[in-house]
Protein backbone atom coordinates (compact mmCIF):
# COMPACT_ATOMS: atom_id res chain seq x y z
CA UNK A 1 0.00 0.00 0.00
CA UNK A 2 1.60 3.28 -1.10
CA UNK A 3 1.25 6.62 0.64
CA UNK A 4 -1.60 7.89 -1.56
CA UNK A 5 -3.77 4.82 -1.14
CA UNK A 6 -3.09 4.94 2.58
CA UNK A 7 -4.14 8.61 2.69
CA UNK A 8 -7.35 7.83 0.81
CA UNK A 9 -8.21 5.00 3.20
CA UNK A 10 -7.52 7.18 6.24
CA UNK A 11 -9.80 9.89 4.81
CA UNK A 12 -12.49 7.30 4.03
CA UNK A 13 -12.22 5.83 7.51
CA UNK A 14 -12.51 9.22 9.20
CA UNK A 15 -15.41 10.20 6.97
CA UNK A 16 -17.28 6.96 7.79
CA UNK A 17 -16.47 7.46 11.47
CA UNK A 18 -17.78 11.02 11.50
CA UNK A 19 -20.98 9.88 9.81
CA UNK A 20 -21.40 7.16 12.44
CA UNK A 21 -20.82 9.80 15.09
CA UNK A 22 -23.88 11.76 13.93
CA UNK A 23 -26.09 8.72 14.43
CA UNK A 24 -24.35 7.40 17.54
CA UNK A 25 -24.29 10.75 19.35
CA UNK A 26 -28.09 10.95 19.20
CA UNK A 27 -28.31 7.36 20.39
CA UNK A 28 -25.95 7.94 23.30
CA UNK A 29 -27.67 11.20 24.33
CA UNK A 30 -31.10 9.57 24.36
CA UNK A 31 -29.63 6.68 26.35
CA UNK A 32 -27.60 8.77 28.76
CA UNK A 33 -30.03 11.61 29.36
CA UNK A 34 -33.44 10.02 28.93
CA UNK A 35 -32.49 6.45 29.86
CA UNK A 36 -34.24 5.16 26.75
CA UNK A 37 -32.75 2.41 24.60
CA UNK A 38 -33.99 3.27 21.15
CA UNK A 39 -33.72 0.47 18.59
CA UNK A 40 -35.61 2.57 16.06
CA UNK A 41 -32.71 5.03 15.87
CA UNK A 42 -31.38 3.29 12.76
CA UNK A 43 -34.79 3.68 11.16
CA UNK A 44 -34.44 7.45 11.42
CA UNK A 45 -31.21 7.17 9.45
CA UNK A 46 -33.12 5.21 6.81
CA UNK A 47 -36.00 7.71 6.86
CA UNK A 48 -33.46 10.49 6.24
CA UNK A 49 -31.95 8.69 3.26
CA UNK A 50 -35.36 8.01 1.69
CA UNK A 51 -36.43 11.61 2.34
CA UNK A 52 -33.30 12.81 0.54
CA UNK A 53 -34.11 10.48 -2.34
CA UNK A 54 -37.75 11.47 -2.77
CA UNK A 55 -37.49 15.17 -1.89
CA UNK A 56 -34.47 15.76 -4.12
CA UNK A 57 -36.45 14.31 -7.03
CA UNK A 58 -39.39 16.50 -6.10
CA UNK A 59 -37.46 19.74 -5.58
CA UNK A 60 -34.70 18.97 -8.06
CA UNK A 61 -32.11 19.93 -5.48
CA UNK A 62 -30.47 17.98 -2.65
CA UNK A 63 -29.98 21.20 -0.67
CA UNK A 64 -33.71 21.95 -0.52
CA UNK A 65 -34.34 18.29 0.20
CA UNK A 66 -32.02 18.48 3.21
CA UNK A 67 -33.79 21.51 4.63
CA UNK A 68 -37.21 19.94 4.12
CA UNK A 69 -35.97 16.58 5.41
CA UNK A 70 -34.64 18.02 8.67
CA UNK A 71 -37.94 19.81 9.30
CA UNK A 72 -39.86 16.57 8.71
CA UNK A 73 -37.43 14.60 10.89
CA UNK A 74 -37.84 17.03 13.80
CA UNK A 75 -41.61 16.77 13.43
CA UNK A 76 -41.41 12.95 13.47
CA UNK A 77 -39.20 13.09 16.57
CA UNK A 78 -41.52 15.42 18.48
CA UNK A 79 -44.57 13.38 17.52
CA UNK A 80 -43.04 10.01 18.47
CA UNK A 81 -41.77 11.28 21.80
CA UNK A 82 -45.14 12.78 22.66
CA UNK A 83 -47.15 9.79 21.46
CA UNK A 84 -45.05 6.79 22.54
CA UNK A 85 -41.59 7.34 24.00
CA UNK A 86 -42.82 9.57 26.85
CA UNK A 87 -44.80 6.59 28.16
CA UNK A 88 -41.63 4.53 28.55
CA UNK A 89 -39.55 6.61 30.99
CA UNK A 90 -40.68 4.67 34.03
CA UNK A 91 -40.83 1.29 32.33
CA UNK A 92 -38.15 -1.40 32.29
CA UNK A 93 -35.61 -1.35 29.43
CA UNK A 94 -37.23 -4.53 28.20
CA UNK A 95 -40.37 -2.68 27.16
CA UNK A 96 -38.36 0.10 25.56
CA UNK A 97 -36.60 -2.55 23.48
CA UNK A 98 -39.89 -4.07 22.42
CA UNK A 99 -41.77 -0.91 21.60
CA UNK A 100 -38.92 0.50 19.54
CA UNK A 101 -38.51 -2.90 17.88
CA UNK A 102 -42.16 -2.67 16.89
CA UNK A 103 -41.44 0.78 15.49
CA UNK A 104 -38.68 -0.68 13.29
CA UNK A 105 -41.13 -3.16 11.77
CA UNK A 106 -43.58 -0.33 11.11
CA UNK A 107 -40.96 1.95 9.52
CA UNK A 108 -39.56 -0.87 7.36
CA UNK A 109 -42.98 -1.87 6.05
CA UNK A 110 -44.05 1.73 5.43
CA UNK A 111 -40.83 2.16 3.47
CA UNK A 112 -41.62 -0.99 1.51
CA UNK A 113 -45.19 0.21 0.83
CA UNK A 114 -44.20 3.69 -0.32
CA UNK A 115 -40.86 3.16 -2.06
CA UNK A 116 -40.75 -0.58 -2.78
CA UNK A 117 -37.75 -2.79 -2.10
CA UNK A 118 -35.36 -1.56 -4.81
CA UNK A 119 -31.99 0.11 -4.31
CA UNK A 120 -32.02 3.79 -5.27
CA UNK A 121 -29.27 6.30 -5.96
CA UNK A 122 -29.07 10.00 -5.22
CA UNK A 123 -26.86 12.26 -7.32
CA UNK A 124 -24.19 14.42 -5.77
CA UNK A 125 -25.04 18.15 -5.99
CA UNK A 126 -23.37 19.85 -8.97
CA UNK A 127 -21.43 22.18 -6.69
CA UNK A 128 -19.57 19.29 -5.08
CA UNK A 129 -19.12 16.90 -7.98
CA UNK A 130 -15.43 17.65 -8.51
CA UNK A 131 -12.54 15.43 -7.43
CA UNK A 132 -9.13 16.41 -6.16
CA UNK A 133 -6.45 14.60 -8.18
CA UNK A 134 -3.77 12.98 -6.03
CA UNK A 135 -1.76 11.14 -8.70
CA UNK A 136 -2.38 10.32 -12.36
CA UNK A 137 -4.84 7.60 -11.48
CA UNK A 138 -6.01 8.38 -7.93
CA UNK A 139 -8.30 11.20 -6.89
CA UNK A 140 -10.52 12.04 -3.93
CA UNK A 141 -14.11 13.29 -4.32
CA UNK A 142 -14.87 16.72 -2.90
CA UNK A 143 -18.27 15.54 -1.68
CA UNK A 144 -16.67 13.18 0.85
CA UNK A 145 -14.47 15.97 2.18
CA UNK A 146 -17.55 18.17 2.46
CA UNK A 147 -19.34 15.40 4.39
CA UNK A 148 -16.49 15.18 6.89
CA UNK A 149 -16.43 18.94 7.29
CA UNK A 150 -20.17 19.15 7.93
CA UNK A 151 -20.07 16.31 10.46
CA UNK A 152 -17.16 17.93 12.24
CA UNK A 153 -18.96 21.28 12.33
CA UNK A 154 -22.06 19.61 13.80
CA UNK A 155 -19.93 17.83 16.39
CA UNK A 156 -18.37 21.12 17.50
CA UNK A 157 -21.80 22.73 17.53
CA UNK A 158 -23.12 19.96 19.74
CA UNK A 159 -20.18 20.27 22.11
CA UNK A 160 -20.82 24.01 22.45
CA UNK A 161 -24.55 23.48 22.88
CA UNK A 162 -24.14 20.95 25.67
CA UNK A 163 -21.16 22.47 27.49
CA UNK A 164 -21.59 26.21 27.01
CA UNK A 165 -25.29 27.09 26.81
CA UNK A 166 -28.05 27.31 29.38
CA UNK A 167 -30.08 24.70 27.50
CA UNK A 168 -27.10 22.34 27.57
CA UNK A 169 -26.72 22.89 31.29
CA UNK A 170 -30.37 21.97 31.84
CA UNK A 171 -29.95 18.87 29.67
CA UNK A 172 -26.90 17.76 31.66
CA UNK A 173 -28.68 18.43 34.94
CA UNK A 174 -31.73 16.50 33.74
CA UNK A 175 -29.53 13.50 33.06
CA UNK A 176 -28.26 13.48 36.65
CA UNK A 177 -31.51 14.04 38.52
CA UNK A 178 -34.79 14.39 36.73
CA UNK A 179 -36.93 15.20 39.78
CA UNK A 180 -34.55 17.84 41.13
CA UNK A 181 -34.46 19.71 37.83
CA UNK A 182 -38.22 19.56 37.64
CA UNK A 183 -38.66 20.97 41.13
CA UNK A 184 -36.39 23.88 40.16
CA UNK A 185 -39.12 24.91 37.74
CA UNK A 186 -37.67 23.60 34.51
CA UNK A 187 -40.04 21.90 32.10
CA UNK A 188 -38.28 18.55 31.90
CA UNK A 189 -40.88 16.99 29.59
CA UNK A 190 -40.22 19.66 26.99
CA UNK A 191 -36.48 19.24 27.49
CA UNK A 192 -36.67 15.50 26.85
CA UNK A 193 -38.84 16.07 23.81
CA UNK A 194 -36.25 18.44 22.40
CA UNK A 195 -33.39 16.01 23.07
CA UNK A 196 -35.26 13.21 21.35
CA UNK A 197 -36.10 15.38 18.33
CA UNK A 198 -32.46 16.48 18.16
CA UNK A 199 -31.35 12.84 18.09
CA UNK A 200 -33.86 11.98 15.37
CA UNK A 201 -32.80 15.00 13.31
CA UNK A 202 -29.10 14.10 13.61
CA UNK A 203 -29.71 10.50 12.52
CA UNK A 204 -31.94 11.57 9.63
CA UNK A 205 -29.43 14.20 8.53
CA UNK A 206 -26.69 11.57 8.54
CA UNK A 207 -28.89 9.44 6.29
CA UNK A 208 -29.45 12.38 3.95
CA UNK A 209 -25.81 13.30 3.43
CA UNK A 210 -24.84 9.62 3.17
CA UNK A 211 -27.44 8.92 0.47
CA UNK A 212 -25.29 10.05 -2.51
CA UNK A 213 -22.26 7.93 -1.49
CA UNK A 214 -23.91 4.89 0.14
CA UNK A 215 -27.12 4.65 -1.97
CA UNK A 216 -30.56 4.08 -0.49
CA UNK A 217 -31.64 0.52 0.25
CA UNK A 218 -33.89 -1.58 2.53
CA UNK A 219 -32.28 -2.67 5.77
CA UNK A 220 -29.82 0.23 5.81
CA UNK A 221 -31.21 1.32 9.16
CA UNK A 222 -30.54 -1.92 11.06
CA UNK A 223 -27.03 -2.07 9.68
CA UNK A 224 -26.18 1.39 11.00
CA UNK A 225 -27.99 0.82 14.30
CA UNK A 226 -25.91 -2.19 15.29
CA UNK A 227 -22.63 -0.51 14.36
CA UNK A 228 -23.72 2.49 16.44
CA UNK A 229 -24.42 0.21 19.40
CA UNK A 230 -20.82 -0.94 19.12
CA UNK A 231 -19.71 2.70 19.02
CA UNK A 232 -21.72 3.52 22.16
CA UNK A 233 -20.46 0.44 24.00
CA UNK A 234 -16.86 1.33 23.16
CA UNK A 235 -17.28 5.01 23.99
CA UNK A 236 -19.41 4.64 27.10
CA UNK A 237 -23.13 5.41 27.47
CA UNK A 238 -24.05 9.08 27.52
CA UNK A 239 -20.60 10.30 26.58
CA UNK A 240 -20.54 12.39 23.40
CA UNK A 241 -16.74 12.48 23.61
CA UNK A 242 -16.71 8.68 23.82
CA UNK A 243 -19.06 8.44 20.85
CA UNK A 244 -16.64 10.56 18.82
CA UNK A 245 -13.60 8.47 19.71
CA UNK A 246 -15.50 5.19 19.28
CA UNK A 247 -16.91 6.26 15.91
CA UNK A 248 -13.52 7.27 14.49
CA UNK A 249 -11.95 4.03 15.79
CA UNK A 250 -14.71 1.94 14.22
CA UNK A 251 -14.51 3.90 10.98
CA UNK A 252 -10.78 3.28 10.64
CA UNK A 253 -10.91 -0.38 11.75
CA UNK A 254 -13.76 -1.16 9.38
CA UNK A 255 -12.16 0.63 6.41
CA UNK A 256 -8.74 -0.92 6.85
CA UNK A 257 -10.27 -4.34 7.58
CA UNK A 258 -11.67 -4.30 4.07
CA UNK A 259 -8.45 -3.34 2.24
CA UNK A 260 -5.75 -5.15 4.21
CA UNK A 261 -5.01 -8.81 3.66
CA UNK A 262 -4.06 -11.05 6.52
CA UNK A 263 -3.36 -14.76 6.42
CA UNK A 264 -2.87 -16.97 9.42
CA UNK A 265 -1.87 -20.57 8.82
CA UNK A 266 -3.17 -20.59 5.25
CA UNK A 267 -6.56 -19.14 6.23
CA UNK A 268 -7.39 -15.75 4.83
CA UNK A 269 -8.64 -13.79 7.85
CA UNK A 270 -8.85 -10.40 6.11
CA UNK A 271 -10.65 -9.12 4.17
CA UNK A 272 -12.96 -12.18 4.40
CA UNK A 273 -13.82 -11.62 8.05
CA UNK A 274 -13.64 -7.80 7.94
CA UNK A 275 -17.29 -7.64 9.06
CA UNK A 276 -16.18 -9.17 12.37
CA UNK A 277 -13.34 -6.74 13.09
CA UNK A 278 -15.39 -4.09 14.88
CA UNK A 279 -16.90 -6.73 17.19
CA UNK A 280 -13.45 -8.02 18.04
CA UNK A 281 -12.53 -4.44 18.95
CA UNK A 282 -15.62 -4.24 21.11
CA UNK A 283 -14.72 -7.51 22.86
CA UNK A 284 -11.25 -6.14 23.65
CA UNK A 285 -12.72 -2.96 25.12
CA UNK A 286 -15.22 -4.98 27.16
CA UNK A 287 -12.43 -7.08 28.62
CA UNK A 288 -10.37 -4.05 29.57
CA UNK A 289 -13.07 -1.51 30.49
CA UNK A 290 -16.60 -2.96 30.65
CA UNK A 291 -18.09 0.53 31.17
CA UNK A 292 -16.60 1.87 27.93
CA UNK A 293 -13.65 4.20 27.36
CA UNK A 294 -15.41 7.30 28.70
CA UNK A 295 -18.17 5.64 30.73
CA UNK A 296 -18.79 6.28 34.36
CA UNK A 297 -17.92 3.42 36.65
CA UNK A 298 -20.87 2.27 38.61
Amino acid sequence: MDANTFLIQVLNGIQYGLLLFLVASGLTLILGIMGIINLAHGSFYMVGAYLAFSLSQHFGSLWLAMVGGVVIAVAIGLLLEWLLISRLYHRDHLYQVLLTYGLILIFEELRSLVFGDDVHGVTVPALLQASIPLTDTLSYPVYRLWMSAVCLALAIGMYLLIQKTRLGMMIRAGAVNREMVQSLGINIDLLYRLVFALGVALAAFAGMIAAPVASVFPGMGSQVLIVCFVVVVIGGIGSVKGAMLGAILIGLVDTFGKVLTLEIGGFRILPELSGMMIYVLMAVVLLARPEGLFGRRG
Binding site: H93, L98, G102, L103, S222, I226, F229, V230, Y279
Partner: protein
Protein backbone atom coordinates in the same frame (compact mmCIF):
# COMPACT_ATOMS: atom_id res chain seq x y z
CA UNK B 1 -53.57 -23.15 46.42
CA UNK B 2 -56.75 -23.46 44.39
CA UNK B 3 -55.23 -21.29 41.68
CA UNK B 4 -52.23 -23.62 41.36
CA UNK B 5 -54.63 -26.49 41.02
CA UNK B 6 -56.62 -24.76 38.28
CA UNK B 7 -53.44 -23.91 36.41
CA UNK B 8 -52.22 -27.49 36.41
CA UNK B 9 -55.60 -28.72 35.17
CA UNK B 10 -55.45 -26.26 32.27
CA UNK B 11 -51.88 -27.37 31.59
CA UNK B 12 -52.84 -31.05 31.51
CA UNK B 13 -55.78 -30.28 29.23
CA UNK B 14 -53.44 -28.46 26.82
CA UNK B 15 -51.01 -31.37 26.87
CA UNK B 16 -53.85 -33.83 26.18
CA UNK B 17 -55.08 -31.67 23.30
CA UNK B 18 -51.57 -31.63 21.81
CA UNK B 19 -51.29 -35.42 22.15
CA UNK B 20 -54.65 -35.96 20.45
CA UNK B 21 -54.15 -33.37 17.71
CA UNK B 22 -52.52 -35.67 15.10
CA UNK B 23 -55.51 -38.03 15.30
CA UNK B 24 -57.81 -35.62 13.52
CA UNK B 25 -55.65 -32.79 12.12
CA UNK B 26 -54.40 -32.57 8.55
CA UNK B 27 -50.70 -32.69 7.68
CA UNK B 28 -50.53 -28.90 7.31
CA UNK B 29 -51.72 -28.32 10.87
CA UNK B 30 -49.51 -31.06 12.31
CA UNK B 31 -46.50 -29.37 10.75
CA UNK B 32 -47.68 -25.95 11.89
CA UNK B 33 -48.03 -27.12 15.47
CA UNK B 34 -44.63 -28.82 15.28
CA UNK B 35 -43.15 -25.46 14.32
CA UNK B 36 -45.03 -23.71 17.12
CA UNK B 37 -43.77 -26.21 19.70
CA UNK B 38 -40.19 -25.75 18.46
CA UNK B 39 -40.56 -22.01 18.92
CA UNK B 40 -42.05 -22.66 22.38
CA UNK B 41 -38.85 -24.49 23.40
CA UNK B 42 -36.85 -21.55 22.01
CA UNK B 43 -39.00 -19.06 23.95
CA UNK B 44 -38.66 -21.05 27.21
CA UNK B 45 -34.88 -21.08 26.82
CA UNK B 46 -34.94 -17.28 26.62
CA UNK B 47 -37.42 -16.99 29.48
CA UNK B 48 -34.97 -18.45 32.01
CA UNK B 49 -32.62 -15.59 31.08
CA UNK B 50 -35.09 -12.72 30.74
CA UNK B 51 -37.90 -13.70 33.07
CA UNK B 52 -36.05 -15.50 35.86
CA UNK B 53 -32.53 -14.08 35.94
CA UNK B 54 -33.34 -10.62 34.58
CA UNK B 55 -30.86 -10.78 31.71
CA UNK B 56 -32.45 -9.20 28.63
CA UNK B 57 -30.63 -10.86 25.75
CA UNK B 58 -31.20 -9.49 22.27
CA UNK B 59 -28.89 -12.02 20.66
CA UNK B 60 -30.47 -15.34 21.56
CA UNK B 61 -30.95 -16.35 17.92
CA UNK B 62 -27.19 -16.87 17.57
CA UNK B 63 -27.44 -20.15 19.51
CA UNK B 64 -30.62 -21.13 17.68
CA UNK B 65 -29.11 -20.55 14.25
CA UNK B 66 -25.71 -22.05 15.02
CA UNK B 67 -27.34 -25.38 15.89
CA UNK B 68 -29.04 -25.43 12.50
CA UNK B 69 -25.68 -24.91 10.83
CA UNK B 70 -24.14 -27.64 13.00
CA UNK B 71 -26.80 -30.04 11.70
CA UNK B 72 -26.02 -28.98 8.13
CA UNK B 73 -22.30 -29.63 8.68
CA UNK B 74 -22.91 -32.91 10.52
CA UNK B 75 -24.87 -34.34 7.61
CA UNK B 76 -22.81 -35.70 4.72
CA UNK B 77 -24.04 -34.12 1.49
CA UNK B 78 -27.36 -35.58 0.27
CA UNK B 79 -27.36 -38.00 3.22
CA UNK B 80 -28.92 -37.91 6.65
CA UNK B 81 -27.12 -37.23 9.90
CA UNK B 82 -27.53 -39.52 12.88
CA UNK B 83 -29.90 -37.92 15.39
CA UNK B 84 -28.16 -39.36 18.46
CA UNK B 85 -24.83 -37.92 17.40
CA UNK B 86 -25.80 -34.68 15.70
CA UNK B 87 -28.28 -33.43 18.31
CA UNK B 88 -25.78 -33.51 21.22
CA UNK B 89 -23.17 -32.08 18.87
CA UNK B 90 -25.46 -29.18 17.92
CA UNK B 91 -26.51 -28.49 21.50
CA UNK B 92 -22.89 -28.76 22.66
CA UNK B 93 -21.76 -26.34 19.95
CA UNK B 94 -24.40 -23.80 20.98
CA UNK B 95 -23.50 -24.28 24.64
CA UNK B 96 -19.84 -23.65 23.86
CA UNK B 97 -20.69 -20.49 21.93
CA UNK B 98 -22.87 -19.39 24.86
CA UNK B 99 -19.94 -20.00 27.22
CA UNK B 100 -17.61 -17.79 25.18
CA UNK B 101 -20.15 -15.03 24.50
CA UNK B 102 -21.55 -15.28 28.04
CA UNK B 103 -18.12 -14.87 29.64
CA UNK B 104 -17.81 -11.55 27.77
CA UNK B 105 -21.33 -10.14 27.87
CA UNK B 106 -21.95 -10.97 31.54
CA UNK B 107 -19.26 -8.47 32.45
CA UNK B 108 -21.91 -5.86 31.63
CA UNK B 109 -25.46 -5.32 32.81
CA UNK B 110 -28.59 -3.34 32.04
CA UNK B 111 -28.63 -1.39 28.79
CA UNK B 112 -25.07 -2.46 27.99
CA UNK B 113 -26.07 -6.11 28.23
CA UNK B 114 -28.87 -5.62 25.69
CA UNK B 115 -26.58 -3.87 23.21
CA UNK B 116 -23.63 -6.21 23.67
CA UNK B 117 -25.66 -9.41 23.22
CA UNK B 118 -27.09 -7.93 20.04
CA UNK B 119 -23.63 -6.99 18.78
CA UNK B 120 -22.06 -10.40 19.44
CA UNK B 121 -24.96 -12.21 17.81
CA UNK B 122 -24.45 -9.94 14.83
CA UNK B 123 -20.79 -10.95 14.76
CA UNK B 124 -21.83 -14.61 14.44
CA UNK B 125 -24.26 -13.51 11.74
CA UNK B 126 -21.42 -11.95 9.75
CA UNK B 127 -19.27 -15.08 10.05
CA UNK B 128 -21.94 -17.05 8.20
CA UNK B 129 -23.04 -14.18 5.97
CA UNK B 130 -19.67 -13.03 4.67
CA UNK B 131 -17.69 -16.26 4.37
CA UNK B 132 -18.23 -19.13 2.01
CA UNK B 133 -18.11 -21.87 4.68
CA UNK B 134 -21.84 -22.49 4.57
CA UNK B 135 -23.23 -20.94 1.43
CA UNK B 136 -22.83 -17.34 2.58
CA UNK B 137 -25.93 -15.16 2.38
CA UNK B 138 -27.80 -17.82 0.35
CA UNK B 139 -27.79 -20.35 3.17
CA UNK B 140 -27.47 -24.11 2.91
CA UNK B 141 -29.92 -26.96 2.33
CA UNK B 142 -30.30 -29.99 4.57
CA UNK B 143 -31.50 -32.65 2.16
CA UNK B 144 -32.53 -35.38 4.59
CA UNK B 145 -33.95 -35.35 8.09
CA UNK B 146 -31.73 -36.87 10.81
CA UNK B 147 -32.05 -40.64 11.23
CA UNK B 148 -32.86 -41.97 14.69
CA UNK B 149 -31.03 -45.26 14.19
CA UNK B 150 -29.36 -47.14 17.05
CA UNK B 151 -27.12 -49.88 15.59
CA UNK B 152 -29.42 -50.48 12.63
CA UNK B 153 -32.65 -50.38 14.65
CA UNK B 154 -34.87 -47.37 13.99
CA UNK B 155 -37.45 -46.67 16.72
CA UNK B 156 -39.06 -43.77 14.80
CA UNK B 157 -38.53 -41.82 11.60
CA UNK B 158 -38.36 -38.03 11.46
CA UNK B 159 -39.25 -38.19 7.76
CA UNK B 160 -42.76 -39.05 8.96
CA UNK B 161 -44.42 -35.79 9.98
CA UNK B 162 -46.42 -37.41 12.79
CA UNK B 163 -43.29 -38.98 14.28
CA UNK B 164 -41.56 -35.62 14.01
CA UNK B 165 -44.52 -34.02 15.80
CA UNK B 166 -44.43 -36.45 18.70
CA UNK B 167 -40.64 -36.19 19.02
CA UNK B 168 -40.93 -32.42 19.40
CA UNK B 169 -43.90 -32.71 21.74
CA UNK B 170 -41.97 -35.14 23.96
CA UNK B 171 -39.00 -32.77 24.02
CA UNK B 172 -41.24 -29.81 24.82
CA UNK B 173 -42.70 -31.69 27.79
CA UNK B 174 -39.25 -32.89 28.87
CA UNK B 175 -37.67 -29.41 28.68
CA UNK B 176 -40.65 -27.94 30.51
CA UNK B 177 -40.41 -30.51 33.31
CA UNK B 178 -36.63 -30.19 33.62
CA UNK B 179 -36.76 -26.40 33.72
CA UNK B 180 -39.54 -26.49 36.33
CA UNK B 181 -37.36 -28.73 38.49
CA UNK B 182 -34.27 -26.61 37.87
CA UNK B 183 -36.06 -23.38 38.73
CA UNK B 184 -37.55 -24.85 41.90
CA UNK B 185 -34.11 -26.04 43.02
CA UNK B 186 -31.74 -23.90 45.12
CA UNK B 187 -29.95 -23.03 41.86
CA UNK B 188 -33.16 -21.60 40.41
CA UNK B 189 -33.88 -19.63 43.58
CA UNK B 190 -30.44 -18.04 43.31
CA UNK B 191 -31.24 -16.99 39.73
CA UNK B 192 -34.44 -15.29 40.86
CA UNK B 193 -32.49 -13.68 43.71
CA UNK B 194 -30.04 -12.27 41.19
CA UNK B 195 -32.87 -10.67 39.25
CA UNK B 196 -34.40 -9.10 42.34
CA UNK B 197 -31.20 -7.88 43.97
CA UNK B 198 -27.82 -9.01 42.70
CA UNK B 199 -25.87 -6.96 45.25
CA UNK B 200 -27.60 -8.74 48.09
CA UNK B 201 -26.98 -12.16 46.57
CA UNK B 202 -23.32 -11.29 46.28
CA UNK B 203 -23.12 -10.11 49.85
CA UNK B 204 -24.75 -13.40 50.89
CA UNK B 205 -21.68 -15.06 49.42
CA UNK B 206 -23.02 -16.27 46.07
CA UNK B 207 -20.67 -15.93 43.13
CA UNK B 208 -23.38 -14.49 40.93
CA UNK B 209 -21.23 -14.37 37.80
CA UNK B 210 -20.91 -18.17 37.79
CA UNK B 211 -24.64 -18.66 38.31
CA UNK B 212 -25.44 -16.28 35.48
CA UNK B 213 -22.93 -17.95 33.21
CA UNK B 214 -24.32 -21.43 33.88
CA UNK B 215 -27.81 -20.10 33.21
CA UNK B 216 -26.61 -18.47 29.97
CA UNK B 217 -25.03 -21.75 28.83
CA UNK B 218 -28.16 -23.79 29.64
CA UNK B 219 -30.29 -21.26 27.76
CA UNK B 220 -27.89 -21.42 24.81
CA UNK B 221 -27.96 -25.23 24.70
CA UNK B 222 -31.77 -25.32 24.78
CA UNK B 223 -31.99 -22.65 22.08
CA UNK B 224 -29.67 -24.96 20.15
CA UNK B 225 -32.11 -27.83 20.58
CA UNK B 226 -34.91 -25.69 19.16
CA UNK B 227 -32.70 -24.48 16.31
CA UNK B 228 -31.67 -28.03 15.46
CA UNK B 229 -35.27 -29.19 15.02
CA UNK B 230 -36.30 -25.99 13.24
CA UNK B 231 -33.54 -26.56 10.68
CA UNK B 232 -34.40 -30.27 10.39
CA UNK B 233 -38.06 -29.50 9.79
CA UNK B 234 -37.46 -26.67 7.34
CA UNK B 235 -34.56 -28.41 5.55
CA UNK B 236 -32.74 -25.11 5.15
CA UNK B 237 -30.60 -22.73 7.21
CA UNK B 238 -29.61 -19.18 6.25
CA UNK B 239 -27.92 -16.37 8.16
CA UNK B 240 -31.40 -14.97 8.84
CA UNK B 241 -32.03 -17.78 11.34
CA UNK B 242 -29.38 -16.21 13.57
CA UNK B 243 -30.21 -12.62 12.66
CA UNK B 244 -31.49 -10.09 15.11
CA UNK B 245 -35.07 -10.13 13.82
CA UNK B 246 -35.22 -13.70 15.06
CA UNK B 247 -33.89 -12.54 18.46
CA UNK B 248 -36.41 -9.71 18.61
CA UNK B 249 -39.25 -12.04 17.63
CA UNK B 250 -38.52 -14.58 20.35
CA UNK B 251 -38.16 -11.83 22.95
CA UNK B 252 -41.60 -10.63 21.91
CA UNK B 253 -42.97 -14.16 22.42
CA UNK B 254 -41.63 -14.30 25.98
CA UNK B 255 -43.02 -10.91 26.90
CA UNK B 256 -46.31 -11.26 25.09
CA UNK B 257 -47.03 -14.46 26.97
CA UNK B 258 -45.88 -13.09 30.31
CA UNK B 259 -42.27 -13.54 31.34
CA UNK B 260 -40.93 -15.39 34.33
CA UNK B 261 -43.49 -18.13 33.89
CA UNK B 262 -42.60 -20.94 31.51
CA UNK B 263 -46.29 -21.25 30.65
CA UNK B 264 -46.23 -17.68 29.39
CA UNK B 265 -43.33 -18.39 27.06
CA UNK B 266 -45.20 -21.33 25.49
CA UNK B 267 -48.42 -19.34 25.25
CA UNK B 268 -46.53 -16.40 23.72
CA UNK B 269 -44.86 -18.59 21.11
CA UNK B 270 -48.19 -20.10 20.03
CA UNK B 271 -49.96 -16.73 20.03
CA UNK B 272 -47.24 -14.94 18.05
CA UNK B 273 -47.09 -17.62 15.36
CA UNK B 274 -50.86 -17.66 14.99
CA UNK B 275 -50.91 -13.85 14.81
CA UNK B 276 -48.21 -13.92 12.15
CA UNK B 277 -50.24 -16.42 10.17
CA UNK B 278 -53.37 -14.34 10.60
CA UNK B 279 -51.69 -11.14 9.42
CA UNK B 280 -50.14 -12.94 6.44
CA UNK B 281 -53.56 -14.17 5.45
CA UNK B 282 -54.99 -10.66 5.15
CA UNK B 283 -56.63 -10.03 1.75
CA UNK B 284 -55.69 -7.70 -1.10
CA UNK B 285 -57.47 -4.38 -0.56
CA UNK B 286 -57.57 -1.61 -3.15
CA UNK B 287 -54.73 -3.14 -5.16
CA UNK B 288 -52.41 -3.38 -2.14
CA UNK B 289 -51.48 -6.85 -0.92
CA UNK B 290 -51.93 -6.28 2.81
CA UNK B 291 -50.82 -9.79 3.74
CA UNK B 292 -47.43 -9.18 2.16
CA UNK B 293 -46.94 -6.23 4.50
CA UNK B 294 -47.95 -8.21 7.60
CA UNK B 295 -44.95 -6.85 9.52
CA UNK B 296 -46.69 -3.48 9.63
CA UNK B 297 -49.52 -5.03 11.66
CA UNK B 298 -47.09 -7.03 13.77
CA UNK B 299 -45.21 -3.82 14.60
CA UNK B 300 -48.45 -2.07 15.45
CA UNK B 301 -49.51 -4.99 17.60
CA UNK B 302 -46.19 -4.97 19.49
CA UNK B 303 -46.49 -1.24 20.23
CA UNK B 304 -50.07 -1.78 21.33
CA UNK B 305 -49.12 -4.73 23.55
CA UNK B 306 -46.30 -2.84 25.28
CA UNK B 307 -48.57 0.10 26.07
CA UNK B 308 -51.66 -1.84 27.11
CA UNK B 309 -50.58 -5.32 28.27
CA UNK B 310 -47.77 -4.74 30.78
CA UNK B 311 -47.99 -8.32 32.11
CA UNK B 312 -48.56 -10.17 28.86
CA UNK B 313 -51.39 -12.49 27.92
CA UNK B 314 -51.18 -14.38 31.22
CA UNK B 315 -51.65 -11.01 32.94
CA UNK B 316 -54.90 -10.73 31.04
CA UNK B 317 -56.09 -13.87 32.81
CA UNK B 318 -55.01 -12.45 36.17
CA UNK B 319 -56.85 -9.22 35.42
CA UNK B 320 -60.02 -11.13 34.54
CA UNK B 321 -59.91 -13.18 37.74
CA UNK B 322 -59.27 -10.05 39.84
CA UNK B 323 -62.27 -8.31 38.28
CA UNK B 324 -64.36 -11.41 38.85
CA UNK B 325 -63.34 -11.59 42.50
CA UNK B 326 -64.09 -7.92 42.98
CA UNK B 327 -67.56 -8.17 41.55
CA UNK B 328 -68.20 -11.26 43.70
CA UNK B 329 -67.06 -9.38 46.80
CA UNK B 330 -69.35 -6.54 45.91
CA UNK B 331 -72.27 -8.91 45.57
CA UNK B 332 -71.50 -10.67 48.84
CA UNK B 333 -70.68 -7.56 50.84
Amino acid sequence: MRQVHAASIVLLACLLALVLLPLFAEKYYIQLFTKMMIMAIFAMSLDILVGYTGLVSLGHAAFFGLAGYTLAFAAPQYEAANLWLSLPLAMGGSALLALVIGALVLRTSGIYFIMVTLAFAQMVFFVFHDTKIAGGADGIYIYAKPVAAIAGWQPFSLENHTHFYFTVLALLALVYALLRMLLASPFGRVLVGIRVNEQRMRSLGYRTFRYKLVCFVIAGALAGMAGYFAAAQFGFVSPDTLGWHQSGGVLMMVILGGMGTLNGAILGAFAMMLLELGFQGLPVLGGVDIGKHWQLFMGGFIVFAVLLLPHGLLGLGGLASRLLRKSKERRNG
